[in-house]
Every structure is written in C-alpha cells, then in structure tokens.
Amino acid sequence: MQIENNQEKKQKQFATEIIPKIHSQNLNFCWGIGNELFLFGGSTSAFYCPKKQRKEINSQENNIYILSWDTTNNESISKFLSQTHSIFVKLQMKQNQLSNTDTLEASQGYRIALQNLKQNLIKQLDESNEDFQLNLDLANSVNPKAFKDEIESEAKLVDIMERVFHLCENFFLLHSKYPSFSFVRWFQLNFTDQLEIESIDTESIKWNKICRSIIHGKFENAINLLAKFPPNQTIQNTQKILQEFPELKYQTHLTIYRKQFQNWRKKCDKIYNSNEEIKQNPNLSAIYKILLGDENEINQRTDSWIERFASKLLFIYPNLEIQSFGSKAKECFTEKEKKERINDLDQIYLDILSLNTSRALLRIYSQIGNTWLSAHLSDLLFHIDSIQKDVLPTLGTDIREFFVLEFCQTLLSNPSRMPILVDYLISCQKMGKMLLSEIVQRQNIDDEFIYKKLLNICQNNQLDLEYKTICQIYGMKSFSSHKFPSGINALLEAEKIEIVNSGINRFFKKIVSEEIPLYQIQLVIESLESDKQNQTSKKVLFLKHYKELCEYFQENQMDKAGRLILEIMKKEIAPKMFWLTLIWDAIVIMEEEEKKIEQEQFQKNSIFNHDSIMFFLTKVKEITSSHQANEYTQYISKDQLQVIRFNLIRALPIRIGLK
C-alpha cells in the first residue's frame, strides 16, 4: 500500500493556510502552550519604519493569528486516547510481572481501539455531511471538502497504524515461533479482498481468481471456484490436493509439519507429472506450478513484494527462520521495484521483518509522523524486550522514552489531557520528571480542586520544589481574592513566612476598614495556628484578642472590653494600624461609664484611670507624629481624630486621682 509522505503532506497543508499577506512586515511569532503558535506581522527593531514614512498601511498589521497542529480536540480521537491510555497504564503497572497474555491483550486492545476510532471517524464524517446539507451557514464557515479530506486522511492513517500494530503483534507476540504462519495470516487479513464468487462470469476471470486465491493461501475459495467448472477427475484431484494442503497451526510441531509438507509436495508433484491434461491446460498447469513452488510462476502472478513473499512462505520455504525473514523479503522485490524508491510503509514492514524494530519505529516517527503509534508500539516492544533499551546519544534517552515524550507534546495543547499526560510522563523515568515538573507548574490554579490535584501529583513524584511553588502561587492568588485562610495555609506549606505576614497585614487592613464576620477571623486564627514554628504567634494572639473584643462589644460587656483594650495596647500586641480605632472604642466605653455610674461608684469602678488616659494620649502622639502617620491614620477620619484628642484631654482631669 502506498502512503503519501507525511512530511510533504504536512508542508502542503501548512503552506496553503490562508493568512492574509501583511505588507512590508515580517511574519513573527510567539509560542503558545504545546503545538500552538501566535503569528503576527511584527517587524523587529531593526526593521522599524515610522508610520508616517510608510507608503502602505495594512489594516491587518494589528491582527494575531493563532495556529495549532496535532491537537487532539476531535471527539473521536479524545475517546480513542482515553481508551488507549487505560491500556498503557495497565501495562506500566504490571511492568515486571507481564506475561505474554498481558502483552497480547494490550496489543489487541490497542488494535480494537484503532478499529473503533476508524469507525467513529467515518460516522463523524457521515453525520457532518448531513449537518452541512441541513445548515448552509455551517457549510460556509467550515470548508466541507477540507473537513472530508482531513477525516478520510485520518481514517487512512488509522488503517496503516492498525496494520503495523497487527504485524508486530503477529510476529513478536502471537506466533513468534511460527513466523511464516504469522506473516501469512497478517497478509491474508490485511491485503486480500473478499471474493465475490457469485458475480464471477468469464472463465478467464475464474481461473485468475483461483490462482490468486491459491497464492494468498485461501484454498477454500479456490476449491469453491473449481466447483463452478464441469466436474471431472482432474478438477476433483486438484480440489483434493488443495484440501490436503498441510495447514500450519499454532502448536503444531515444526518437525512434524516439515514431514507433512514434504509428503504433500510429493503427492502434488506426482499428480502434476502423471496427468497430461494438467500439463496441457495452462490454467491448471499454473495452479500446480504455484503449489510446487515455481518461483517464476509465483512472480508472474503476484503484484507486490508482500504478495510474493507470502506465497513463497506458503509454497517454497514454509519453515523459514525468523532471522532470514528480512533478507528473503527483500529478495521478493522485482528489478523494477528495486530501481524505484521503496515507499515508506514498505520500508517499515521490511525493518520489522528484519527484526530492526528501532529503525522501524524511527521511520514510523519521521515518515508517518504519528506520535501515538511510535509511543505505544515502542512501549509494547520494550516490555517484551524486542527493542533497544540503551540510551541513544542523539536522542539523549532510550528509544521508548523518546517516543513517549514526543507523544506527550501532542497532549500538551489540550489542558483537559493533563491527567493522561501525567501518567505518560511518570512512565518515563529519565526525562519524564523534568517535563512533568514544567507542566505541573504551568497549570493554571483556578480553584482548590486543581490545586489539590497538582499537589498530589507533586507528592507522588517527589517534586518537592514544585510542590512549594504551587503552594506559593495558590497562596498569593488566594490573598488577591481575599481568601485569607486558604492563602495562609498554602503559604505556610510553601514556607513563605514573609508572604504570610504580608497577607495577614492585608487581612488586618480589611478588619480595620470594614466589618468582618467573626467566623472569618476565627478561620484565619485556625490557619495561623497550623504554623508549627510559631512564626506568626504575635499576630495570632492579637487576632484572638480582637475577636474576643468584638464578642464583648456584641454582648455589651463594656468593662471587659475596656480592660482588654488596655491590655492589648499596653502589651504592644495590637499593630499600630489598630491603635486609633481601639482608642476610639475606649472613648466610647469611657462615655458610657460617665453617663451610667454616679460619682462614688465611678471612682471605684472606672476602667480607665488617669494613667490610662495619659497612655492613650502618648500613643496618639506617637502615631500622628510618625513618618508613617498617613498609613496609620487612614482608617479614621480627621474629625474622629479631633474627637479622640478632645475626649482624652477632657477625660484627663475627671480621672485624676483614679487608680
């Protein structure tokens, strides 16, 4: 089967993208995430020409073009990736205990997934065609022909992928002791068409079909076709000899098979040489020549090297050793075929038959260009020791890891692929971790769910630095959105105490400027208390007292509130930004005191004595004369500050003598 060189195809595809010409500018770019480029008509500093001097100004100069490739946004492909991801993960989990059954199951699983993908693609195409017919707008906005070409091209590629997988499965897993049988089976399933016996009319076509069936090892078909002819002894003998062809079955002992084949051959030879009718009938003669392994006859009747090779394996060297497969397959090329360039797919088959799996995979990668195939096939072959495991100098790693990492590039472009991507990266011990580190850090931490997921990945893969970076970023984001408890928790985890302190200051500013529900303060306290190193103990203490203070005010326990204010100010627990607010609260309590209590009781029960008032006045002076006065006084108005001063001075003589 001929395939178009995928590189050339891609180049043609890219080259025909419709990007309007941007006059007199350079096409410049920046990378997106994964396989994505942002293109723009940007001139560099060297090419700068002031606008006024430019003759033409194109309105498209300020456009950005987002181009992506090898992305996995197609629904069918997404389903396929999920399916095959499960198979891949199972293989890695069982790694050291893999049996032949496990690897065979995996290979068959991959092939079923490929078959399903092809069917889904075709279904998608059929459904789209209906949509295009029903919806003209859709048909106008999306190029139906280009879409159809793309899907058909994908389906064709999937066919090739399945074929390559099947060959490796047959050759290395299923019938590795019986390579001839493997190859012939593979050939029959992938290259021979179903015969429509009923529709065959002319005699020459019938004979042609009979010969082709025999060449393909489909004796049943040949027998049925012979039955269309008027029965005679020769035809019956031929049918009989075809029926008696020794079929190599799985578990047949090779020595026994060899003997069976030789006996059958003798019988065949005897019939051919003793029957003049056969020799005189060119069609019958051809059949017997094929059965007797006449190379010339086989060469004449076959169109491709694969067909030729399959026939020769059936009739000339059914016991061919696996080591000789590559050389014998190459001998099946005609002179003409040898002169023409062997197409890429045939090269891949030849590499596999020559047991050069590494070269086959490198060809798959560079010629077919499908990273899924090279990754999963190399992984499978790796597990059955059918591939090089040493580090290749040019790749920097072993071949399996190289291809799996290349496949990961394709997954990168789609953020929803992250869980799948992680599993593939983890399976790459040498370089996967580095890439995982990069990728984990590039996940936008939108919410707590993603945050926890990322931390989990870091913990499971010993990405300690990345763990802390993610905590730090999440903490900072939380602070920006005023989610202080989660921010504090994250930053303590990141061991970024300076940012925690900065965040707490922001929280303090919020408290002092707005009314904050007490439960929020409690949550922040609980978060800070998780700081095992007690680096924020003073702040925790203040918050606890502040909460207590708020509770006293709510319960109208003014005497307790007043005493607490004095305590937190005298012990310097309260940050400076709170001083004026606290003093204001103290003044309110003082006024209440003065109203409610008569002189004697006032003297005995007063919370704030002369010294307290002097203390408050000192603090007011300290704040207002500080170089950061604006910062500390911003939470109360100028009028309120005046009132504070006035009331403190007024209260002073009243409280002289009070202790």
Partner: protein
Amino acid sequence: MEPITFTTEHEDTIHDAQMDYYGKKLATCSSDKIIKIFKITDNEQIHVADLKGHEGPVWAVSWCHPRFGVMLASCSHDRRVIIWKEIDSENNIWQKEYEYLEHKSSVNSISWSPQEYGLNLACGSSDSMVSILTFSGEQWTHKKFKAHQIGCNSVSWAPFNPTGSLITSGEDNTTPTLRLVTGGCDHLVKIWVYLQKEKEWKFECNLEGHENWVRSVSWAPNIGLPFQTIASCSQDKKVIIWSSRSDGKWEKNILPTFDDIVWSVSWSFTGNVLAVSSGENSVTLWREKNDGNWYCFSDLSNQN
C-alpha cells in the same frame, strides 16, 4: 486547521507578543507605545488592559514566573525598561512597579531568568550594554556590562541546572550557575557567567560562525538531556544550532541556508521544536532527527 484570527486594535505595527506561563494571557506591544493584555480561552480573546508609559515603540515584552506575582517587563526605543505588576486581578488593574532608564539607546531585548535564580531581568541594548536588573526583596538593583560592539540585539538565559554547569568556569560545580547568551551587531554570540564570589558577570566564550548581525538567540529549555543547546540566527541568512556536551565545548550545526535574513528563533517550552522567522513572511518549524540533522517539518508561509 484554519488559524483563529483576532484584532488587537493596536494602532500601529505589533513588534512582539508573549503568552504568560499558563497560556491564559497574551501581552502584545506595538509602535503605538502601548502594551495590551488579552485573556485567552478556547473560544475567545478578551482585551482586558492597556499599559501606557513608554514614549516610543515597544519592542518586546516578557512575563515573569507567577511565583513572583503577575508581572510583565517591557522594553522600548525610548531607552526604558518598565516592569508592570497586576495589582487587582478581578478588575485587571496594573501599575508600574519599576522603571529603568540607565541605557543610552534603544533597549531591544529582555528576558527573565529561570525562577529558581530569583527575580532577574536581562536587557540588551543598542548602546552595546547588557543590564541585569535584580529584585533583592526590597528594591531593584542593577549590574551592567559591555556585551557587543555597536549593539546587543538579543538576550536569553540558560535553563536552571541544579547539577551544576556542564561548562566549567573554575567555580564549584555543585552550585547552580547563572548563564546568559547574547547576540549582537559584532556578528558574535557570547556566553556570560555570573561569578557568585565576585558578584560580577564574566565573559565565558564566543560562539563564532555568523557573518552578519546576530538578530536573535535562544537557549533551549532543559528537560534532562545531557547536553545544552542554543539557537542563533543572523542577517547572514543562517540559523546555527550550538550544542555542548559533557566536555564543555560548543559544536555548531548550521541549518540549511534560508532565502532571506533570519530575524528570530525560539524554542518550544519542551525544547524539541525550534520556530524560525525569516524574510518577510515565513515562519518554519524545525526538529532534530535521530542522526543529528535538522529538518523542517512545516512552513507557515504568508500567502495571499
């Protein structure tokens, strides 16, 4: 595979565009002196902010690592480097965090160092100098050194390498080493190393091979390969890939000659694909084959 198009509404030519670390925001800069910020989703691109402060065409923008906050640097023909910080993400409010005006000529290229080294910004200028701005926790400091005669066109940092440098510099090989590559009008690509003890930048080596002004340099990201790679491009129509293995020597591999001046090179973040812009309207993507040669696997030509 049609490209998605959106209009930035810049009033003049766009000189640079850069995606942020998460691929969620795009910053563009233009000759209209404005930097625009866009939020990018699967289906749309929303213009969220304009940053105004430059007095000339803005040549380049660069996002810093998110662990330092949401910050963007820009450089311009007006000799300024400005560092912008997003102070309110909900309302998309930005402010100038720092402005650097020590260059005597246009600043052509800027690049943030790997985040493991802290907050450092390299700036390359037409006054032949390279500045390294560093934020120490409280303030911005800078170091300057002469890099290229006539002018420096491009700067790029070496990726963080915790196992130590592959190129010995006489320092303790177990400590990570800051390295920078620059490209200039003297046709040279130069590598610089920061000496921790002396707290100075030192010239390490020249990479010779170009025959005209070097327009762009890019140090490939490190994904664990046992070698370092730099790409450089020049007005001599060449792109050179420089590789250094364990012996510390740099070997060059010249890509097939281009038809026109090569303006810009840049690695994908996984470091295995090199994008190259050349001539008037061409962007090509290159990959290394297993035999060590490079091949172009796509040509994003600009056609009518």
